[in-house]
Symmetry: C2
Subunit: 345 residues, 2 copies
């Protein structure tokens, strides 16, 4: 797997007064507001995965979170703000998990919600949104088509957008997962040298950078080789659209990093690991077979990066297992392939 | 699922001085000794499973435990006692998880270990024992054949037996899983009305009875309809051998309850739920799809009982997810069947 050192940035762009103020204190406030409303998900240890990685891995199991991913953290805060301001309803685009999270948060406030997903989003994610009582609209496979659809829906309904990348409450909320992980590891008498985080639109890594600001813990990003949006942004020194190939990591398909996440993360991220598709599939199976956790391919991307490169970053490495919303059929086929494959032992 | 009320027993038989003294204080001592040597496994909540059960379920995820099951708790204590007494090596019979646990514990003390398993034990369990450096011997599919093989091996090698049912350290160790669960639920501001525990040879339910002695929490057992050993023992008022049919719950195949576990549990158990094979398979898939946990069929037996009958026992029901050592091929086939079956939604 390729790993790029991060060039120093000359400036950090921010996008508005609220986001300009984002700092570690916002993570603390977000944690207070979320207390008792999200699960304090466990940190799982697994000796077989440690052996594969050659270092101690601390797996933050946000696949066990409400709604099946860490994204409920940010959505709860963002939707609560809108509800308090008298919102008529909310709309958001997403590859799936942010949409599930917004749907759950909207239901909690009795708000209507319309969520825009790619045509080929995993059925399990679509079902979860509808189960929460929200409406699903499909647009494109691409980010630009979803963004355009959101603009139309805002105008049509007068709903408020919950942007998955630009909303500062979303970013702060996502950062609470990393902050909680740091505390949980400290409670076990250890200190994380690094945390490995998957990169899609960028909210997870931006949140991780906020949560680790001024601390010893380095932030390492992981993105599919098929969609190297963060690496491209680092090279261009601004978010750019990449030509995305197919990846099983449906949650990491945004072909451009959000501006706010990139501004928050570009200087703090120590390295970005590009992960091949086979390694994503292998890590998903390793989590099932060794750690007995069902994770989605986005989370497996971070685990794969931690297994292949984590040891370079220290003796105690956290991994944000971002979600567990994976098609049962995909799990079945990956397990069956593993059983019959050359790596079975 | 059938559920039998438990007849009152007229007397409790115990089997020796150490076991006669077994009480809640032994659980406390066991917890102190195990502190830092086993994972404090998480208690997982899952709203979809709560909805299926019609009550709040608190899932003690011992599938994430060292060695893949709660049995490492008892084995660590029992083998430590033998090692301190100058043991040459250890031998034990098991359907698999106790054997893995004894193998790991023996390795920790540099002791040789020979473990006797059924011929058709899951390969994943055999592999884990060998990975720990221990020797595997196969005997029977039946309990009597394994017991006879252990007697031969003891004589042949001069090794000490770590009996999975009669060893009081094993029982006390297994009870720490339930004790920990009670504390973890209390820390969340709740109190368990009942805990549902799978019944194989009986160490889990005996440990649960010790851990809940004098407390509000009722103990509910779950065993496969195919191997109704505890229900038969209750009717006969002593352990009896039942004609076992095939069950996918390989860990719950012992066709007779251990004497010590039965003596400890018979008066304290509130109910025993017999679980059909289809319900075991469905609960295993439900744990994967909804709770994102890989559990073995023995643990799924307890989950199935909690889903079908848990609500009768109160608003807060614990479930001992006893282990996660399941064949990947079985998981793949159950998932594939679920995807194509009428229950998929």
């Amino acid at each position: 797997m390729a790993q790029a050192p991060v060039p120093r940035a000359s400036a950090v762009r921010v996008t508005g007064p609220a986001s300009a103020r984002l700092g570690p204190a916002d993570i603390d406030r977000a944690r207070e507001r979320l207390d008792g409303r999200v699960w304090r998900t466990p940190v799982v240890r697994c000796e077989q995965l440690d052996a594969l990685a050659g270092t101690r891995l601390w797996l933050k199991a946000e696949n066990l979170q409400r709604g099946g991913s860490f994204k409920v953290r940010g959505a709860l805060l963002a939707v609560e703000e809108l509800a308090a301001a008298g919102s008529l309803g909310v709309v958001a685009q997403s590859t799936g998990n942010h949409a599930i999270a917004v749907a759950l948060a909207a239901a909690g406030h009795g708000l209507r919600a319309v969520l825009v997903l790619p045509h080929d989003a995993p059925p399990v994610k679509v079902r979860r949104i509808r189960d929460a009582g929200a409406e699903v609209a499909f647009a494109g496979p691409g980010l630009a088509e979803r963004v355009a659809a959101v603009a139309r829906l805002r105008e049509q309904h007068g709903y408020d957008e919950v942007d998955p990348y630009q909303n500062p409450y979303v970013i702060a909320g996502q950062g609470t997962a990393t902050a909680e992980l740091l505390d949980q590891v400290a409670a076990e008498g250890h200190r994380l040298d690094a945390v490995v985080v998957p990169i899609g639109g960028g909210s997870a890594i931006a949140g991780a950078c906020l949560a680790t600001a001024g601390r010893h813990t380095a932030v390492v990003g992981a993105e599919p080789d098929a969609v190297p949006a963060f690496l491209a942004a680092l090279r261009a020194q601004r978010p750019v659209t990449v030509a995305a190939r197919h990846t099983i990591a449906d949650g990491l398909r945004p072909e451009e990093i959000g501006r706010l996440p990139f501004a928050l993360a570009r200087r703090r991220v120590r390295a970005v690991v590009g992960v091949p598709e086979e390694a994503i599939a292998e890590a998903l199976v390793a989590a099932l077979v060794h750690a007995r956790l069902v994770i989605e391919p986005a989370a497996a991307t971070a685990l794969a990066a931690a297994i292949s490169r984590g040891a370079e970053h220290g003796a105690d490495v956290g991994v944000l297992l971002s979600g567990g919303n994976v098609e049962p059929a995909l799990v079945a086929s990956l397990l069956a392939a593993w059983e019959s494959g050359p790596t079975a032992s």
